[in-house]
């Protein structure tokens, strides 16, 4: 077919363009014209033919270029075809301009919601009085005078009201007033209200973080739209906050703080400071509500420090549980007489010192170990450096510059050094989890990953401390923190609040730090109350054993099922070895009676 339609040219026979059409195939036997030309004409024709070929070539090239470009533009899009394809499919663009904050289970704790701002172009407002009056009729909380003044200002852009609800926007729209405009905006909302206020912090009207996680991760939330996942569990947070709020109310305390921390990873599952605030109305909150007592406030923690002192004695001092110190008489030092609140008036073994919370025994043990070693040990536990947490509200410990013997003694029972409750919880977690200190964190770690930690005490010491903490709850001051089945262990601490140049006997800061289950601690729980009052049912006492300890017990009873800790039928008391250690302190069994024999 093509052979018939496009017969090959017999080029040799064509002398000038067009000559070939006269001798197409199938035209019979007609012969091609054979014209003889003399040389001059022949040369002229050759020249003309060459020019024609060149012109045709140029045209051909031009058309080719156009064709190539057309293909390029239409089919290949100038080499950017894949880009233009992906550009035409919109990537999942973020709905809002600030990332969400989620709890560990994905519950939204903070998010931006699209809203509209109402503004006015005052130059086009016809009648400011009438416009303001109509506007106030649909937005009753907008003061008439303010609205009128702004509408009469004559400026091109003046905000009337930020963050209208869709209903309000509709009402304003229906007024049909000239000069009123809407502007698309976003507003940070905290759906869980004040539940995690001190962790989340707050944002200002421009949605910039001004406190808490919002401030610490302001850049990250503003640039990266992926949600930020916290270690908090909102159910646990609610339970802790509710129990603490009940305790604060019941004991008429000024304030309270409580936290639940994963003993193995350092993740904070709940962190509550009361009083708290609505994050959306941060500016209106009083300063004491804004103050984060769990991570920013530094307090003398009182006898809970005896845990650390006991760890110091066992780890650095090399004492055994059967060693002990004489607590018969008050310890006189630098003009002070250090007495025991629960005075036993006899020689006490190390477990007894902890169980009966003996200041004298603790002081003597710290003195025996030495001030330098004590300071180094506290530093190793991170108690002398600012608390390591993602919040901007991180407290800096207060401790004496010169570490005199009297400081060694008072610090042994938690006075003369002020740390945040989070410091203490972190150190306690290290003491019970096998001796590894991990920085507390508010960010969720991938399940199963355990961050790098620092071995601060040996596993043996940690094991002994676990037994001792359990003993305090079973037989000592922390009895009201016990929850059957969860093997709670802990230590009470009641500090007197310091004023200028002394302590107020009646103003107490009881706290209780606990861990559970004690044979393999999963969580550390700490509760602290500020100036609780004695109640008739507590026999007028306002010490930790009567308020902070039962608070921790109630927290554990509420949160342990949520945290998936299985209760176990209670076993009968601590292991045999410990019973013997306590018994060893009784009169008549005189191993290392005074001062404690060092190994």
């Amino acid at each position: 077919m093509t052979g018939r339609l496009f017969p090959s040219r017999r080029r040799g026979q064509c002398v000038y363009p067009g000559a070939e059409i006269r001798d197409l195939a199938g035209r019979g036997t007609r012969h091609a014209a054979r014209v003889a030309l003399d040389s001059q004409v022949k040369v002229a024709i050759e020249v003309g033919r060459t020019r024609l070929v060149i012109t045709a070539g140029v045209f051909l090239i031009a058309f080719l270029v156009i064709a190539v470009r057309l293909v390029d533009l239409m089919a290949v899009s100038g080499g950017r075809a894949p880009e233009s394809v992906t550009a035409s499919i919109p990537v999942a663009r973020a709905v809002v301009h600030r990332g969400d904050i989620l709890d560990r289970n994905g519950v939204v704790l903070a998010t931006n919601l699209p809203t509209v701002n109402l503004y006015a172009d005052a130059r086009t407002v016809r009648d400011p009085d009438d416009t303001a009056a109509r506007l106030v009729s649909v937005l009753p909380d907008l003061p008439f005078e303010t609205a009128r003044a702004r509408l009469a200002s004559g400026r091109g852009f003046v905000y009337l009201r930020r963050n209208l609800t869709p209903r309000e926007q509709d009402l304003v729209n229906r007024l049909g007033l000239p000069g009123l405009e809407f502007e698309a905006a976003e507003r940070r909302v905290f759906p869980q209200g004040r539940l995690a206020a001190h962790v989340l912090g707050a944002t200002n009207v421009d949605n910039r973080g001004i406190a808490g996680i919002e401030r610490a991760f302001d850049d990250r939330l503003g640039t990266d739209n992926r949600p930020l996942r916290l270690s908090l569990d909102i159910r646990v947070q609610h339970a802790v906050r509710q129990v603490l709020a009940e305790a604060v109310e019941r004991f008429q305390a000024l304030a309270g703080a409580a936290l639940v921390m994963d003993a193995r990873t350092g993740e904070l599952v709940a962190l509550v400071s009361l009083p708290d605030y609505e994050p959306e109305h941060y500016g209106a909150a009083p300063p004491e509500a804004r103050f984060n007592r769990a991570t920013l406030g530094v307090y003398e923690m009182g006898s809970t420090f005896k845990l650390i002192n006991t760890a110091l004695g066992l780890e650095v001092g090399g004492y055994r549980l059967t060693d002990g110190f004489d607590a018969t008489h008050p310890l006189r030092m630098a003009g002070f007489a250090i007495k025991d609140f629960h005075a036993q008036g006899r020689w006490l073994s190390i477990p007894e010192i902890l169980v009966h919370s003996s200041n004298i025994g603790s002081g003597k043990m710290a003195l025996a170990v030495g001030g330098e070693a004590q300071k180094a040990f506290l530093n190793r536990l991170g108690l002398l450096s600012p608390v390591s947490i993602e919040l901007p509200e991180a407290g800096v410990p207060l401790y004496p510059d010169r570490w005199r013997p009297i400081n060694t003694v008072t610090i042994s029972y938690g006075h003369g050094i002020a740390v945040t409750p989070l410091h203490l919880a972190g150190a306690t977690a290290a003491l019970v989890n096998g001796g590894v200190l991990r920085a507390p964190t508010l960010l969720r770690r991938a399940p199963g990953t355990v961050p790098e930690g620092r071995q601060v005490v040996s596993a043996t010491t940690s094991d002994k401390l676990r037994q001792l903490m359990r003993l305090v709850v079973e037989e000592g001051t922390g009895a009201r923190a016990d929850v059957p089945g969860y093997r709670v262990g802990g230590k009470t601490g009641t500090a007197e609040k310091a004023t200028d140049g002394g302590y107020r006997r009646k103003a107490l800061m009881p706290s209780f730090v606990a861990a559970f289950p004690m044979d393999d601690p999963r969580y550390v729980v700490l509760a602290m109350l500020d100036e609780p009052k004695g109640l008739p049912e507590t026999h007028g006492f306002a010490t930790a054993g009567w308020n902070a300890a039962p608070t921790v017990g109630a927290i554990i009873a509420r949160v342990a099922p949520l945290l998936g800790v299985a209760p176990r039928p209670a076993t009968d008391g601590p292991p045999e070895g410990l019973r013997l250690a306590v018994a060893g302190g009784d009169e008549g069994v005189g191993e290392g009676r005074i001062g404690g024999a060092r190994r």
Binding site: L5, L24, S88, P90, A92, R93, V95, V96, V107, V108, L109, T111, L113, P114, V189, P191, Q192, G193, L195, I234, R235, Q237, H238, A239, Q242, V483, P484, G485, Y486, A557, R558, A560, P561, A566, P567, R568, P569, T571
Partner: protein, 147 residues
């Protein structure tokens, strides 16, 4: 012959032009549809975002707590209400040597909804009727050294 070629080319050009014309309009229609879909997706995403916030708001534990307290007779689960599967006693067995129960009880016919039909649904069986006197509870298995 030349006319045939010309007609062929002309026809081709016409067909191509018509095809291109139709294609162009189809592409425009598809692009409109795409834009509409994208707008719908964006709207849906925004709505989902708002609904997620609302869901979180309505699931605030304190609110659920109040609702549960008002409408339900539920209390928080305490440790005393929890048991491990391993702590459950084993199923009671009958003792064949006891008098009066020489033969095992007759197995009950399986209970079926719509028996004999294609949409038959098996139902949970009734508890076997056994006289309490013939039962003993085996002692608990001690697991891991703990009762």
């Amino acid at each position: 012959m030349i006319r045939g070629v010309a007609i062929l080319w002309g026809g081709l050009v016409l067909a191509l032009a018509t095809g291109l014309f139709l294609l162009k309009y189809e592409v425009i229609a598809l692009e409109d549809e795409l834009a509409a879909l994208n707008r719908a997706i964006a709207t849906d995403r925004e709505v989902i975002h708002v609904l997620r916030a609302e869901w979180s708001y309505l699931n605030e534990p304190g609110y659920l707590d109040r609702l549960a307290g008002r409408h339900l007779d539920l209390v928080p689960v305490g440790p005393e209400r929890m048991a491990m599967l391993a702590a459950l006693p084993f199923r009671p067995v009958s003792r064949p040597d006891k008098e009066g129960s020489g033969a095992a009880p007759e197995p009950l016919a399986p209970r079926v909804l719509n028996p004999g039909r294609a949409d038959a649904v098996p139902l949970p069986g009734r508890k076997p009727a056994m006289a309490p006197a013939t039962l003993v509870t085996l002692p608990l298995m001690t697991l891991g050294g703990r009762p």
